[in-house]
């Protein structure tokens, strides 16, 4: 059975199809969630909450083919809300120093971890998940122009951080 069929069944209230569909996307969901929270319990909590919200809302999903986009939107909205409330996920700058000095390399994940949630979403979706800017605009429900601006700003911020790090460790 293909994804679209599963989506249609899930939309019309078939629990088994819904479960299969979430399982189909679970790795992707988990990785995105983990990128935000950097720990397993919070990432799993995000999976549960996303499943909950998706099940509740699936009757409102008009086009089954947008299921994936819609699901990731739910997840990212949750992650952004949670990280706003819970600053612990933001890496303190000291940690960057420690790890980078050990590896002798600066890992982008840590830098991305310091970005605003909305910038972080864009970097994760674009560079890690390989979504196009149009997909990202769909997921975040923003015009493509806004996404382009945010990406640009996110990259600028990363460059600033990189530049500063570069100054230190050059």
């Amino acid at each position: 059975m293909d994804i679209l069929q599963l989506c249609q069944m899930a939309c019309s209230g078939n629990d088994e199809a819904f479960y299969k569909l979430i399982c189909e996307h679970k790795a992707q969901l988990y990785k995105i969630a983990y990128s935000y929270f950097k720990n397993e319990p919070d990432a799993l909590e995000a999976i549960q909450e996303t499943t909950f919200r998706a099940y509740k809302g699936i009757r409102k999903l008009k086009e089954p083919k947008y299921f994936k986009t819609w699901l990731i939107r739910i997840l990212i909205n949750y992650c952004i809300d949670e990280t706003k409330q819970n600053k612990k996920v933001l890496m303190p700058v000291e940690n960057v120093d420690i790890i980078s000095s050990i590896d002798g390399d600066i890992e982008l994940k840590l830098l991305v971890g310091q970005l605003d949630p909305k910038y972080r979403s864009i970097i994760i979706l674009k560079y890690y998940e390989g979504f196009t800017l149009n997909d990202i605009a769909e997921i975040l429900e923003k015009p493509v122009g806004t996404i382009k601006t945010w990406l640009n700003q996110a990259l600028k911020k990363l460059r600033v951080v990189l530049a500063e790090e570069g100054k230190h460790y050059a």
């Binding site: 629990d15 990785k31 996303t50 560079y127």
Partner: protein, 463 residues
């Protein structure tokens, strides 16, 4: 350090994030939580609906206390259905005995979603539970016309209807059911297609009188057709019936009535009754006929749905609540009173020019006015009822009538509303007849029901 390299590193790191083995538990927990949440919201709607039923039946004014509403919200899902079929203990029992087939499919047009949630079906009747949810259409909606089709797209040979409950509550959700009565000609399909036209009911929320609702001739439907196909698992009710041959004749005020056979299906009990063709009166209805067991448990007639069907001029099948799942040790038929009228008094003759009643059975009925109503003429009657008819609305006229040239016509529907005056209960009955016909005055209407009674207590052993 090159930027792309950085992304590459980050990406590798990202891709190597390990998926924990217990992730499926989190997914299942999320579904479970959502189901609990959904049950809660459905039960709250059930509480609302129960409140509407009570208000609309005008039995009594009950305010649902927060405690009671809270209690309802804790009930499991099927209690919602039980609330819907609360008036029929046989259907309630069918639900409790897991005789319901879950469906769970839906379709949405014009921001209105039609879901078929469950069906209860056996070889004599089918109850289709549906939910209409208005997700933002400005219309005040209700289920309008419904077509039931078999696999070949042909109309199901069955009678069906929906009982609507009006309320002042501006709820965007209608949870209700289609009651389908099968007959001998019905072939139950394996796949049933339901085509629904949703009605826009242009009424103000203050409307309480039946007069404020459109007459049956002028419904306004939304443009879309909501169409769904549902499977019917016939193996689930195969040979599910209990048949009792009774063949007992009673005599009430010289009228002979024979109870022939009782078949008890899960959804209803069917009692075949025949009337002696030499009877001087026509028997309209039994007031209190019921099935009763050795413990005094009673199963009454089906009030909110199809209550009977005619097999021939003198034979009919009456439908009662089912005790299929209870299987009492002993069973009896019990009754004492019936509505009946002399066969030579069954006609009401109306002079539509002088707006007068020329012939009526007695002075219980009077003609109050004849007026023009859209494409119809509205004939207003007042019918004085017996005290025991307090909550009953008489629809006394057969839908076929004729004029003095012996031309036959169909009416455009009728309505009945109740009231009380000087201690007398009465119904105001409006009969709509086509306004574009050249009638030969006067018109002759036939009575199908009338507040005239004969009585005698009887008690018949069924098993």
């Amino acid at each position: 350090m090159h930027e792309d390299k950085l992304y590459e590193n980050g990406k590798n790191e990202y891709n190597s994030i390990a998926i924990p083995s217990n992730i499926d538990e989190s997914i299942l927990a999320g579904i479970q939580k959502a189901k609990l949440y959904r049950r809660k919201s459905i039960s709250q709607r059930a509480a609302l609906l129960a409140a509407c039923l009570i208000t609309c039946a005008l039995i009594t004014m009950i305010r649902i206390s927060p405690v009671f509403a809270g209690y309802l919200s804790e009930l499991p899902l099927f209690e919602h259905i039980v609330k819907l079929v609360n008036f029929d203990k046989g259907l309630k029992s069918a639900v409790k005995n897991n005789f319901m087939q879950p469906v769970g499919i839906s379709t949405e047009h014009e921001s209105i979603k039609l879901s078929i949630d469950n069906i209860i079906v056996d070889e004599t009747r089918m109850i289709i539970f549906y939910t209409l949810k208005n997700n933002g259409n400005p219309a005040k909606i209700r289920m309008g016309r419904v077509d039931l089709l078999d696999e070949k797209g042909e109309h199901l040979k069955a009678a069906y209807g929906i009982t609507h409950y009006y309320s002042n509550d501006d709820s965007s959700v209608e949870s209700n059911f289609i009651d389908v009565s099968f007959s001998k000609e019905t072939t139950i399909p394996d796949m049933l297609t339901i085509k629904a036209w949703i009605e826009d009911v242009p009424i103000s929320s203050e409307a309480v009188s039946i007069r404020d609702y459109p007459t049956p001739t002028q419904p306004k439907y939304l443009a879309s057709v909501w169409e769904l196909s549902i499977p019917i698992d016939k193996s689930k009710f195969e040979s599910m019936k209990q048949t009792y041959d009774v063949y007992k004749t009673i005599e009430v005020e010289n009228q002979k009535i024979t109870f022939e056979q009782i078949i008890i299906y899960p959804t209803r009990a069917a009692i075949t009754v025949s009337y002696d063709s030499r009877n001087s009166m026509k028997i309209f209805n039994f007031d209190d006929l019921c099935l009763i067991d050795e413990k005094g448990e009673v199963w009454g007639s089906i009030k909110n749905g199809i209550s009977g069907s005619k097999l021939s001029d003198n034979t009919e099948v009456l439908y009662f609540e089912s005790n299929y799942f209870e299987t009492p040790a002993e069973l009896y038929l019990k009754g004492s009173s019936m509505r009946a009228l002399a066969k030579d008094k069954l006609e009401i003759v109306v002079d539509i020019v002088n707006k007068k009643l020329i012939k009526a059975p007695d002075n219980k009925i009077s003609l109050s006015s004849i007026s023009s109503a859209g494409d119809s003429y509205a004939l207003d009657f007042i019918l004085r009822k017996d005290p025991m008819d307090e909550g009953f609305h008489y629809m006394p006229f057969s839908s076929i009538f004729r004029d003095s040239a012996n031309e036959t016509y169909y009416d455009n529907g009728s309505s009945s509303s109740g009231g009380m005056n000087d201690g007398n209960y009465f119904n105001e009955i409006t009969l709509y007849i086509p306004g574009d016909k050249k009638y030969t005055n006067p018109l002759i209407f036939t009575l199908d029901n009338y507040p005239n009674r004969i009585s005698k207590e009887f008690f018949i052993k069924v098993k």
